[in-house]
Symmetry: D2
């Protein structure tokens, strides 16, 4: 188990679906920042189950409490503990699954790792674990916005076979993203996507999807080659989100088909800085931000828990047909949007702090 | 700069193109392992420039020396320092580039980060930096093979517009991969791919490509959720390799288009263990290995350094036409094959050590 | 701020005197351990204020709640969050101190570091911060006792000018230590020491003291040279406890006066293992446990907060006389006993896990 | 094995007595620093064996080579690898010791840990391992001096039963320390101390001693409570030096006997800052530097390797008399002086970098 992330802005998350609370401790948050629960709650609300018909019917209010680290609404520099109580626990829903590992779920691997499993199956593999990520990411995002005018915006860019038409990473806004419950700015295909998800929900099936993300106003120079290149930490961060199977930045897999003469981003003079004409690099070169907008895409597989019957075997290797009970998302991408933003924020703030330390001692 | 990787099997690499030596210190290698330079050299030979006409003409013998950590060919448990001298240095080749940042190369970002640059431009962004990775990865791979019969095999699965036909991750061998200088097992398209690369080399252009990787006989249970899920660390490891733009595991981006009922991998009884019928998961569920073969793909962009003229600006923002000199790879994927294997080995050995620690204290 | 400790058994503590709660998240606790709040509470009770007349009159019940990481009283392998609510908050007690930094307290340095301070002055320098340490240490101690029969016993061995007569580290028990409220096994001097503390309390003054610690049944081989030698991590752990000024292991400072021929511990055959005749080494040689009892001593300065008037200056540099209000310990060593044990346990369990990982791959 | 130290200014050392080379890789050294081998060599010369009659007769020139990380004498920001070749290897000297663990040496514990041992016995427990520490410490010290006018001075303050009279930490200089080969500023007792050591050398015995250290011009605010308090990291750093048994800062163990009213350091207005009248705190309060001079003492035991016969047992538990061969120091403290300085420098520079990162984001 490694529920820690970050070198200078460090988080330690805790909690699974059926314990008393979930949350996070942030160590290394700078002092003197105005911070209240209202700064954190909106992202939790965007993440929580039961927001719309497109998500699971499990409904939790997910109210956050700041346990420590602030006084009179100002951060002290000491660890900030954030807690959300678990309210809507129904372990009974998982009856069958005590003897049958759900296909493509973490039931089996948690058992292989720990020799024990939580009543909900995969323990910390539950989406509920992401509350700590989102709560701490909201704190990071607030600081980045206030100190650097840095913005992190994610949106749904694919649902099953539907690929949304591209949006401009330079201008996409959270307001536009949140105009609909799918968080997809492609209004032309929106209704079709929604109906696809609703029909799968009804069938007891699920679908995958893609979340895109743009990070604007990134200070040039952040990122720590070799092994903590900025894209490497973003990739780790994204693949740490439940149900992710892929990450690509800038030109990504499509860029492998191009020639260097086409793919290279020539430099040009921009307002007060060197910039690039194109942005196939996705804002990063050699593991270090170049000041252009960072943009990347994250692949989410279809949720493993479906209520359609599945032919599989139980822990004893005997053939069985599993019909999973419980309330589950037919498609995770609408709720994944704030999670992707949060992980991105946690990467970026840590890299900024590390670069600031370096600059302070620079002599040339 | 963060040239460290690993929690228990820790490496610290050093060196750039134009200093005296490059290398790595491994801390945490278990004692009592037979280890000589001959165990390491073959992978360095697969990585080195000048192996074939497909790569750069820069030629280095890259002979490794074990400086410490072994006695009489046995590891002591103390740090193992591995060094390769730099021989073929020609800083003169980089004349123009002192005033012009190469498009899509790390010249500009290294300057933004450090306010200084090595004569070769991007300092540690040079492919030469990967020697430390490959040397330490070879040590890890030897241990994994001897102790767990664990095998890591990478191959070229795409070159520019050419997608190689799929190979079976369960059976692909290094012998098959190394049958040709492209390290691509698709013999039907091989000649076409080679000619494509050779023609780009002649033009002074470059192309991207894809490297695939299979890891067999992985102990079920390794991987450290949440933030160090096995796929998350693999993603970080791959995106830390120069010129990479994407990572996908199992069904990857294509899997986002599927339904859960199609995508899920049902369990079945295999010899002595539960296994899965299909392997869309790519051997990992919930961040933890399930014992099936891990397979993933890594996207490499076309190398940024090309000798075709490029319209760009210099550091002062003035329009210039850059014609890069120097000797460069038209396509990095053949040489990237051992690098991908090495990074994978460094991830896996660390995760195995961490899981072994856990098991030792397990009581149920 | 670095409220994290440990490489495999990792803790992250949080909370200061005047926030809602204090606590700790443990990441890396092995699964399958029986664990309930009753396993943790006794050490918190030994640490809490208001236990006896010798300590501060501030009284808190300090009831611990397990928020996550267990189910049906068994650890899951996931993070264990432990929380203690703050009940008896009286920020009003600190009136004067908003403008005057208490001499030898952390008020001034916290301001220098963070540019802000908690209403209690030194924020996390409060003894209340140690609740997280003690709670997580109790978990570690339980595991060490059950799995290795490893015992950690601390006691008071000095109070101001009174040096307790030596006790045998091989036999001292917690029952003997807890026979009196001073936790000092030297019954001859006990009454004199107690009266000394009571008279200082009345005067509004304070005194320093020494806590000794013995760790029995330590597996030979644990400790991670060079920079994480076992004694080095113990030293760090002890100097991280509030009010500590020194650490010595085995012969310590007195041993510097001896000759090697006197100081060396000759080996002898013991039951089933090599042992040493004497134990000037304190159970550690070259940073690695040799299987003998580890014993060390920790120096605690007199508490800085006294109610006697002190001539000092305020933050503006103006001469003032400070008379601190609030309720404070005249001598911290009785309450420091469980804290020393806890920090020792956190070091030892982490080192055992790291050595178990190494042994699993050993081939000779 | 953990040969790594530091969070932002990170070192990884390597090498034992009888391999090809010893050295260190520094990751995180800021760019733009003037750095040549001449900046590092003097501290290695102060550490090397054979400097004077007081030390071992083993003589090594210990010439350092910078392998990477600089160009034209300027640091690039990339890892700096420093190497010293091993020249004077005489493994034959250790004949007897292959079957007999030396009392109080690390032979036995290295065997317990690794199941194998270097021909020199305790592998990395050799003093030769400290070359990497001293070389990297010299780099840190140069930066600290140039950027902060920060000075780190150590000296011998005790040899066996001889306690040197105190020196003023505010004024002691390296020139004064190096006036004699014992590195002890107490000229009155110097000759007696030297003769004591020489007579022990002749007898084949050894003695312990004490090294003191002062750190001046430390920026107020550095140190990372809770678990990386400045004194905690200094304690770890010092106890990681071979042969150390104790650490005390400021008033140390003697201060435990005092009352708070005597021990507290009242504040006073100093030039441009608040300072303290006395300095029992040793420059640190609550784990954070207060801007006063940091001063501490380190206890060194008598070297374990003596040539006087010792009654002990061999690895088989059979009684034997050991007469160690080889060339060894009768007293390590003169050579320990630069090692203490180096470890202190490595702690301080890391803490400064971490605090600079925090300050960059501070808003109040």
């Amino acid at each position: 188990m490694s529920s820690n992330f970050g070198t200078l802005f460090k988080i330690a998350t805790f909690g699974e679906s059926h314990c008393k609370a979930v949350g996070v401790v942030i160590d290394g948050c700078p002092p003197g920042i105005q911070l209240g629960e209202d700064d954190i709650q909106p992202q939790l609300d965007r993440r929580r189950p039961g927001q719309s018909k497109l998500t699971t019917d499990r409904s939790e209010k997910d109210r956050v409490t700041i346990l420590s680290g602030t006084e009179n609404g100002i951060t002290l520099g000491s660890p900030i503990a954030l807690m959300v109580n678990n309210l809507d626990q129904r372990p009974g829903d998982y009856g069958d699954m005590s003897s049958i590992p759900r296909p493509s779920h973490a039931d089996f691997t948690y058992m292989a790792k720990y020799g024990i499993k939580a009543s909900s199956g995969g323990g910390r593999s539950s989406a509920r674990e992401t509350i700590g990520t989102v709560a701490s990411g909201a704190v990071a995002m607030k600081i980045l916005k206030e100190q650097y005018n840095l913005e992190i915006i994610s949106w749904v860019s694919g649902v099953g076979p539907f690929a949304a038409s591209p949006v401009d990473p330079e201008t996409i806004s959270r307001e536009v993203v949140d105009q609909n419950d799918l968080r997809c700015p492609d209004l032309k295909q929106l209704e079709e996507m929604r109906q696809y998800i609703m029909s799968l929900k009804e069938e007891g099936d699920s679908t995958g999807g893609i979340v895109s993300c743009a990070i604007r106003n990134v200070p040039a120079g952040i990122g720590e080659p070799v092994y903590e290149k900025l894209e490497a930490k973003l990739a780790q961060a994204m693949l740490a989100i439940p149900a992710t199977k892929g990450f690509e930045i800038g030109s990504g897999f499509a860029g492998t088909k191009l020639r260097g003469s086409t793919h290279n981003d020539p430099f040009t003079q921009k307002a007060g800085r060197l910039g690039t004409v194109t942005n196939n690099s996705g804002g990063i070169q050699g593991g270090i931000a170049n000041g252009e907008t960072i943009h990347f895409r994250v692949a989410f597989k279809p949720p493993a828990t479906i209520s359609l019957p599945q032919d599989t075997v139980n822990y004893d290797g005997e053939s069985v047909t599993l019909k999973a009970k419980g309330r589950h998302d037919p498609c995770v991408v609408p709720r994944a949007v704030p999670i992707v933003e949060s992980m991105a924020a946690l990467v970026i703030i840590d890299m900024i702090l590390r670069q600031e330390a370096r600059k302070a001692l620079k002599t040339l």
